[in-house]
């Protein structure tokens, strides 16, 4: 008599419990698909700590009017074709739903359109999608370890909890003691050979084995359906950095405060003020027609001299045009009137 049979019983029972736990958790993740719900594998940690990479999240369809801030929405990612976004709703403005990963410092830069919404997070099945994540990330070493662990647990769970030679009813004598970690294939082989014997207990054992095999196939099918049923819900990390910019076009400012002053020599001085950007030049316009003179950008005064041969008491309106470029110009709204009188080389200009 030793403790060994009890240790074996505990180990096998624990392994069966783990298998049952994993299978039923997988069931929770997969069964809702029959209702038309969506199951996704969480690929990144942008929703941590609420939702972690490797979790499976079941989303149920939702009417847009039922969407509220704080809900975790699943939808097509506006930033990446064929990727899904699983983030929390911050606010809704019309058709645009602003979302944010809990672990992101800011809301997602692109809001989700109401048409892109697939559902609202309803069930979170922790860690069951970890193998999918390992495959996606190409971590084959870890995946191998994981598979090895799974194989050990499954072979333990399918091993008999009590060895026949440990039972109080005396079994037929057997060979050397088997270890519980004996290979699965070897044990299956042994079962097959024992099932071929014709004793009633062997027939019963054979039917139990068949039931177990069906169950194992069903379990494998269930687990295998996870990757197919679960498009990757890649909730993204984002970070934004910006810098402002202002471009302002200059404006041609009109000259202002035009004044006229009579000079003793028969000419008149035109002065103005100007406060805008340094222009290319100024034009002196007479009666709105062509330029009488083109002046430099610093000019603020122009002396009007009599011109032409004969003009008697003609009054003209003089304005100043600011030229920022040839096309970007502004003509003063204020003006001065001057009268000029000429007779050949003798003439005078006077402010009117």
């Amino acid at each position: 008599m030793s403790l060994c049979p009890w240790v074996r019983l505990c180990a096998v029972t624990l392994a069966r419990g783990i298998v049952a736990l994993v299978l039923s958790m997988t069931f929770w993740a997969i069964a809702p698909i029959a209702l038309g719900w969506t199951t996704t594998t969480v690929m990144t940690g942008s929703m941590e700590p609420a939702i972690a990479p490797g979790d499976l999240v079941v989303s149920r369809p939702i009417e847009i009017e039922d969407v509220r801030p704080g809900m975790v929405l699943l939808g097509h990612d506006p930033d990446h074709h064929e990727r899904l976004r699983l983030h929390r709703v911050v606010r809704q403005t019309g058709r645009a739903i602003a979302t944010k990963g809990d672990a992101n410092p800011h809301a997602d830069s692109s809001p989700m359109d109401t048409a892109a919404v697939l559902g609202v997070g309803y069930l979170r099945v922790p860690s069951i999608g970890a193998p999918i994540l390992l495959v996606a990330e190409g971590k084959w070493g870890l995946l191998g370890l994981f598979a090895l662990g799974a194989a050990v647990v499954v072979s333990l769970a399918t091993a008999p909890a009590v060895r026949r030679d440990d039972q109080e009813t005396q079994p037929p004598p057997r060979g050397p003691r088997e270890s519980s970690t004996r290979g699965l294939g070897e044990r299956l082989l042994r079962r097959r050979s024992s099932a071929r014997t014709d004793s009633p207990t062997s027939a019963l054992t054979a039917s139990i084995r068949r039931r177990k095999q069906v169950a194992a196939v069903a379990a494998c099918a269930l687990i295998a359906s996870v990757p197919n049923a679960a498009p990757a819900g890649a909730a993204v990390f984002t970070s934004v950095s910006r810098t402002g910019s202002t471009f302002v076009a200059g404006t041609a400012q009109a000259a202002d405060s035009l004044t006229c002053r009579n000079n003793p020599d028969g000419t008149a001085s035109l002065t103005w003020t100007y406060t805008g950007d340094r222009p290319r030049d100024f034009d002196v316009l007479v009666d709105g027609r062509g330029s009488l003179a083109r002046l430099g950008p610093d000019a603020r005064e122009f002396v009007l001299r009599p011109s032409g041969f004969v003009s008697l008491g003609r009054t003209s309106i003089v304005r100043i045009r600011t030229n920022l470029t040839r096309e970007w110009t502004a003509t003063s709204s204020s003006s001065v009137s001057v009268t000029s009188a000429n007779f050949f080389w003798v003439g005078v200009v006077r402010c009117a």
């Binding site: 929770w28 609420a50 992101n104 922790p126």
Partner: protein
């Protein structure tokens, strides 16, 4: 102490499996409650799964304050954008909170190249990357066509894990044939870089 017999083993299994079923239901429901009950989200960005982080050397000052522009005016600036996240990411540049008056943006040409060097408000020492994407269009096309990560400009992908800088040289010029109707017009925008993990 008795050695276990088949009956005990069967009892143990029969007890374990319902326990596991109840346990899974408990796990799923509590996990669901903590994940989907409305909470204020955590602002910190340092969870173990990784980070993306982007900064630029002009975060609090403007890349351009260009005033009194007229046909033929031009200028440039170089902005160093640094990625310091742990995850590989793609970085895009686009315009946000853009406004314009008098259609001035249609008459400003924008040219964006990627490279290294320069920064802190100058393009001294800037070297363009030979095989990187560049942008050539009007400011109006940029603020209307590059508005989010999906349609943003750029082909920079970061490796993650280290500080990785990249310089963006942005130059502009006002078209020589800009009409007088754009006088006094303005364009305001934020040049926004966004990194998303891949």
């Amino acid at each position: 102490m008795r050695t276990p017999n088949r009956k005990i083993a069967r009892l143990a299994t029969l007890a374990t499996i319902p326990l596991a079923l109840v346990g899974s239901g408990f796990l799923v429901s509590t996990a669901s409650y903590s994940a989907f009950s409305a909470t204020t989200s955590n602002a910190s960005n340092n969870w173990t799964a990784g980070t993306v982080a982007l900064t630029n050397d002009l975060p609090n000052s403007a890349a351009f304050i260009a005033e009194n522009l007229k046909p033929g005016s031009s200028g440039d600036n170089c902005i160093v954008v640094t990625s310091s996240g742990s995850l590989p990411s793609a970085v895009k540049l686009y315009a946000t909170t853009a406004t314009q008056t008098k259609a001035l943006g249609s008459w400003i040409n924008v040219h964006i190249t990627q490279g290294s060097g320069g920064g802190n408000g100058t393009c001294n020492g800037f070297t363009a990357l030979s095989n990187a994407a560049s942008y050539n269009s009007t400011l109006d096309a940029f603020i209307n066509g590059s508005t989010n990560f999906a349609n943003g400009f750029g082909d920079w992908t970061t490796v993650g894990g280290n500080s990785e800088p990249r310089t963006y040289r942005i130059s502009y010029d006002v078209a020589g044939n800009a009409p007088s109707s754009v006088m006094g017009g303005s364009v305001k925008l934020n040049f926004t870089w966004e990194a998303q993990n891949q």
